[in-house]
Amino acid sequence: MVDVTKNLKVYTTYGPKTAKGTKPAIVAKMIEKAKRPLFVVGSEVLEEELLARAKAIAKKGIPVAATGHSIKGFIDEEGVDAKYINIHFLGTFLCDPKWGGLDDNGCYDLIILLGHKKYYINQVLSGLKNFQT
């Protein structure tokens, strides 16, 4: 198998400190270790194949923050805990330790993102990178 993480150009962050590519197994470990992970899905997740994968991930028990109009893909989906929130608001709240989260159980320690416009999610990540506490 080719290791695609080598020399990977990441287009979702700019600046002296940028995102790095990593292997799926490491991502899986990070999710496993997280106490309060949040799966953040954007409107582009509504494409059929991607939506099926997103649902499968959500059914592992990770709460879903459905941004844009992506919530449409998760309505009445059994085993999926999805709530709508605007991504710009979410990025703001994630930097606030006082935020109770989507379920009033506190803020999150890991977010997993899927299905956003690159240039838009770049800005949200920039806010998190610089101002999360």
Binding site: G68, N86, F93, Y119, Y120, G127, F131
Partner: protein, 801 residues
């Protein structure tokens, strides 16, 4: 002792001497005092409205999303500010990004005010300082000027004083950008608000001056329709294309064409706001527009690359930097007419017309700078006719032939460099593949979504002129690009405000949706049509301006009508209004100010804080800048924000680096005072932001309805607004919003048709007490309905204060 007054007098016995008395020290204040109340902030300086800004910023948190994480402003740096670190000068990431945002705001405000200064010089020179400012049926000629400067201008000359103030304040704001000045983000935020407010004064000056002098529609609900679209241009005729925002010089072109019977023989068309303002020129009273609109900035490169224009005239703002280089390739002479854009061209302002035309048509010069508008008026149309013949004889073509097209699409190696470079990441590679197989539809779709920035071509390792390929593939749809746009009507009149003000404040007209800004849309131009169509059907008043106004006119409904043809332009619920060009955005804030002045009888003179407080708490208006791209869009939006009007941007708007977002879970932030007694009132979180972005149109629809909700809504108004919020959420997101109950003060606030269903939800899901016999809410709501309450955020306005 007699007092000196403004005006003009001549000295007897002296020939050719006329003395003009412009402004007299203290005269404005004296006149204002004589006329009645004057508010506490006549011509506020940078700190004059700081307390108001702080009130807003306490609820609406500045949210920074930096672009590059570095500061490169001075030679101490470059400094890495990642993680909110401090740089060498001591500024941190928050402060730097607030400064960056403020810089964008004052850049935009300067562009409008610089435009205003140029127009004012030109118009005073042509019509005289005493020329009256007639802008339609109104006693408040310049609401933004009056609320900020305390002055009630009546003549062109009166505007100079207000513009002097704007310019002085902008210099003071720009000084704050310098190293070692402001250090705290919150004060950069306040300064940005100041810049935004100044912008609306500058815009208003620009627009009322041209409305008065250039016979533009004056608050006219029957303003005519104009043709729009690339498909409206007859390329068989000589074509003169103008680009920019300042119509001053173009009026001379129109006059020359009419005087020399050229109107039928050649096409005069425009891009961006100059185009909109050309169609307003001398259409007061319903005359036919004298030019056609091609479209927005996104059409600039497309129009040039089409090869259709024979000559291009540019003025200022939002004109591509490469117009001359692009035009040169296609033998189109370029005439620059404004010192803000000169492209390195020789100044021919003092040269003979024949010499200029000879040099341009022979190709000795690629273009000319002509600052003399009389000369411009003659050169441009005459040169266009000459160049048309020459270009036809030489067979100048731009777009590839069929064979070349096939070769170009097959040359693509699908490396995706273009897609990564594309600001919208459009699927160019797949469209190339489809075109190779004879299917042009993917490229036709790209044509609508593509903003024609040309970055794909810079990225292509195979030197494929991607934009030319898209445009060649889309010739059929381009020919069909024919629409109608309402000519900008200018201000909202006093009688209209008198009639509609009560509905807006009580909420029975659910709100104003003001769609402004540029054409950097995430998903093509039809988004605007979808928004307007939906909100008009729901009886919102939809106001349009600038590039958004143009793009809306490009789509027809199933009956072949544009929305401009379907809806009246009267300021009334369920109507569609185009106020005009970029600078006409001032009429949107002016309408809100006039609601306070006319409906509520509030004094607006030098009384910004009180009026902004009124607008924030009572006027349900939301701005939408779905394709905001320019610095001017940021200043327009920020001016709306200071006046209490929230604005939603499209996803590209996140690149402005700063939003203003409230936190509904911070309950102590969602309170107002009741001005009758100073008591605190709980309010729901609406508007819940002053500036934010939405990911998609579907997401934005319910946001619009929700953020038109205001504390002053009566029960009928709240019911109407809540109905739309719930319905739009269900229609576009598929869910009932999880905060809908927070807007319920009593059962009459609930949507009538669903009252029982929603009462059950309140009881079962939220534990509210319901009296089912009377179908009344007994307990549960956090905010109360009191139609007599006077919600305010300003303590001094309370009787107890």
């Amino acid at each position: 002792m007699s007092e000196l007054k403004t005006g003009t007098f001549s000295v007897s016995d002296l020939e050719n001497v006329q003395i003009n008395i412009g402004s007299i020290v203290g005269a404005i204040e004296k006149t204002a005092a004589e006329e009645g109340e004057v508010g506490p902030t006549v011509k506020p300086n940078i700190s004059g409205l700081r307390d108001w800004d702080y009130k807003l910023l306490e609820r609406y948190n500045p949210v920074y999303t930096p672009m590059c994480d570095q500061c490169c402003y001075c030679t101490f740096g470059a400094c890495d500010l990642t993680g909110n670190k401090e740089g060498a000068c001591g500024i941190n990431m928050e402060g730097h990004n607030a400064r960056e945002f403020m810089l964008r705001v004052i850049t935009g405000a300067s562009a409008h005010s610089g435009h205003g200064r140029h127009l004012l010089h030109h118009l005073i020179d042509k019509y005289g300082a005493d020329y009256p400012l007639k802008v339609g049926q109104t006693n408040i000629i310049a609401p933004n000027v009056q609320i900020v400067t305390g002055k009630k201008p009546e003549t062109l000359g009166d505007l100079e004083d207000a513009l002097d103030y704007v310019e002085e304040q902008l210099v003071q704001l720009l000084a704050c950008v310098h190293v070692g000045q402001e250090g705290e983000a919150i004060d950069f935020e306040s300064k940005a608000m100041h810049g935004g407010m100044l912008d609306h004064v500058g815009m208003e000056i620009s627009d009322i001056a041209q409305i008065a002098c250039l016979e533009m529609p004056k608050a006219d609900e029957n303003a005519p329709l104009s043709e729009i679209g690339m498909g409206t241009i007859d390329s068989e005729k000589p074509v003169l294309l103008v680009i920019g925002h300042n119509v001053a010089g173009v009026t001379n072109i129109i006059d020359y064409m009419e005087d020399h019977d050229l109107t039928e023989n050649m096409e005069l068309c425009g891009l961006c706001c100059t185009a909109l303002d050309m169609t307003r020129y001398r259409t007061e009273g319903g005359d036919v527009p004298k030019a056609k609109v091609v479209g927005t900035l996104a059409k600039e490169l497309k129009m040039i690359r089409s090869g259709v224009p024979d000559v291009i005239v540019v003025d200022e703002q939002c004109v591509r930097a490469d117009v001359l280089r692009e035009a040169k390739e296609l033998m189109m002479p370029v005439i620059t007419t404004n010192e803000k854009i000169m492209y390195g061209l020789p100044n021919r302002s003092d040269d003979d017309v024949e010499d200029i035309i000879d040099d341009l048509k022979s190709g000795r010069d690629d273009g000319a700078l002509i600052l003399d508008f009389e000369k411009l008026g003659e050169v441009a149309p005459r040169l266009t006719q000459e160049m048309s013949k020459i270009r036809k004889e030489k067979g100048v073509v731009s777009l590839p032939t069929e064979e070349e097209f096939n070769e170009l699409t097959s040359r693509c190696v699908h490396c995706l460099a273009c897609e990564l470079e594309c600001p919208t990441n459009l699927p160019i590679s797949d469209a190339m593949t489809a075109a190779e197989e004879g299917d042009l539809r993917p490229f036709e779709i790209l044509h609508d979504k593509c903003v024609a920035c040309g970055r794909c071509e810079q990225a292509c390792p195979k030197d494929i002129p991607v934009l030319n390929v898209i445009e060649k593939a889309s010739q059929k749809v381009i020919r069909e690009e024919i629409g109608k746009v309402r000519v900008g009507r200018g201000q909202i009149s006093d009688p209209e405000i008198r009639e509609e003000g009560v509905n807006l404040v009580m909420g029975t007209t659910p709100g104003i949706i003001a769609m402004v800004g540029c054409s950097n849309y995430p998903d093509g131009t039809k988004d605007l049509y979808r928004i307007a169509d939906e909100m008009l059907r729901r009886n919102y008043i939809v106001l349009m301006s600038g590039c958004s106004a143009m793009d809306l006119g490009m789509y027809q409904n199933e009956d072949g009508e544009t929305l401009y043809e379907k809806y009246s332009a009267k300021f009334q619920k369920g109507n569609l209004i185009n106020v005009g060009s970029c600078v006409s955005n001032s009429h949107i804030t002016a309408a809100a100010i006039k609601v306070a002045a006319i409906f509520a009888q509030r004094n607006i003179t030098g009384n910004y804080e009180e009026i902004a407080d009124y607008v924030l708490n009572r006027v349900g208006a939301v701005g939408v800048a779905w394709g905001a791209y320019s610095q001017k869009a940021s200043s327009i939006g920020t001016g709306c924000n200071r006046l209490g009007i929230p604005v939603i941007l499209g996803p590209h708007g996140s690149k402005y680096r700063r939003a203003l977002i409230g936190k509904p879970y911070e309950e102590d932030k969602w309170k107002v005072l009741d001005a009758r007694n100073g008591e605190t009132m709980d309010i729901p979180a609406a508007p819940e932001f002053l500036l934010t972005t939405a990911e998609t149109i579907d997401e934005m629809m319910p946001m619009l309805a929700k953020n038109c909700i205001r504390p002053s809504d009566n029960n009928m108004g709240r019911m109407i607004k809540l109905t739309h919020y719930i319905e739009l959420s269900e229609k576009y997101l598929g869910i009932i919003p999880d905060d809908w109950y927070k807007f319920v003060r009593r059962e009459t606030d609930l949507p009538l048709a669903r009252r029982e269903e929603l009462l059950k939800k309140l009881e079962q899901e939220l534990g509210w007490e319901i009296d089912w016999n009377k179908k009344k809410i007994i307990s549960g709501p956090t905010s109360k309905l009191d139609v007599s309450a006077q919600p305010t955020n300003v303590k001094r306005l309370c009787k107890e204060a």
